[in-house]
């Protein structure tokens, strides 16, 4: 499980490879917060290579979304598979995040 970060057209794009769970959530949080501190304001997390997400992983996404909004920025999500969509629906987090079907749509939505 790992995270890769790149910038596409002024947007910080994070790919979550593997799981987003209690064991690695802090790594994701710190990487995004470092970018936020360095002045970045537009963030996209792409889950096309993600397995499962636990409550800690969901909690980090909620926390990051709040921190980014407080700095006048935006966090959007893309490429949730059907299982991850169900997870977001069960927790109603699909109402809290802007979620795009594809990375391209998400990038164009900023």
């Amino acid at each position: 499980m790992s995270f890769s970060i790149k910038k596409e057209g002024g947007i910080v794009v994070v790919d979550v490879e593997g799981q987003l769970i209690v064991g690695n959530r802090q790594e994701l949080k710190q990487k995004v917060l470092d970018e936020l501190e360095s002045g970045e304001r537009k963030f996209l997390i792409d889950f096309s290579q993600t397995g499962y997400i636990d409550s800690s992983g969901l909690g980090v996404l909620v926390s990051l979304s709040k921190k980014i909004r407080e700095q006048g920025g935006e966090l959007r999500l893309a490429n949730l598979n059907d299982d991850l969509k169900t997870l977001f629906e069960l927790t109603k987090l699909d109402t809290l995040f802007q979620i795009a079907d594809t990375r391209e749509r998400a990038l164009n939505s900023f």
Partner: protein, 150 residues
């Protein structure tokens, strides 16, 4: 420890996995994969293999490691998974005092709670498993979760 056995009375195939891990969240993924593999061998539904089993078990392990055992690597977490053609029964035990599942009924989906960082663990276990219960044991704490095969 990894055991596959036949139930002598009904001749049903039962697969049993028992494993002890130190209280370290880095072990969660491996235990999840072990149990998922057994469920896959019993032809559980894809959704159950990709969502219900991994997320509910990861939550139970996380609770046991961080809350039950206070993240103390000297303390052990015991996992027992019994899988047959009808259901998965998971037991996750720690060395803590346990907690009252019925008192832990916070709904993380309400407008007041939706943007909280925590409070979704037990909620997800209940949503993703058919039954979640606390088992009375002489010492420590055991949570049992049952998932009927889909």
């Amino acid at each position: 420890m990894h055991v596959t056995a036949n139930d002598g009375e009904s001749d049903r195939l039962v697969r049993v996995v028992e494993v002890d891990i130190p209280s370290d969240v880095r072990f969660i993924e491996n235990v999840v994969e072990l149990v998922r593999h057994e469920c896959e061998a019993m032809a559980f539904a894809r959704r159950q293999l990709m969502l219900n089993v991994p997320v509910a078990l990861a939550e139970a392990l996380s609770n046991a490691i961080l809350r039950g055992n206070g993240d103390d690597p000297a303390k052990q977490v015991h996992v027992r998974a019994e899988v047959d053609a009808a259901r998965l029964v998971l037991e996750v035990g720690d060395e803590g005092q346990g907690f009252d599942l019925e008192q832990s009924l916070i709904d993380p989906t309400t407008p007041d709670n939706i943007d909280r960082e925590d409070g979704r663990g037990l909620f997800l276990m209940r949503k993703l498993m058919d039954r979640v219960e606390r088992v009375e044991v002489p010492s420590g704490n055991v949570v049992r979760m049952t998932l009927n095969r889909g």
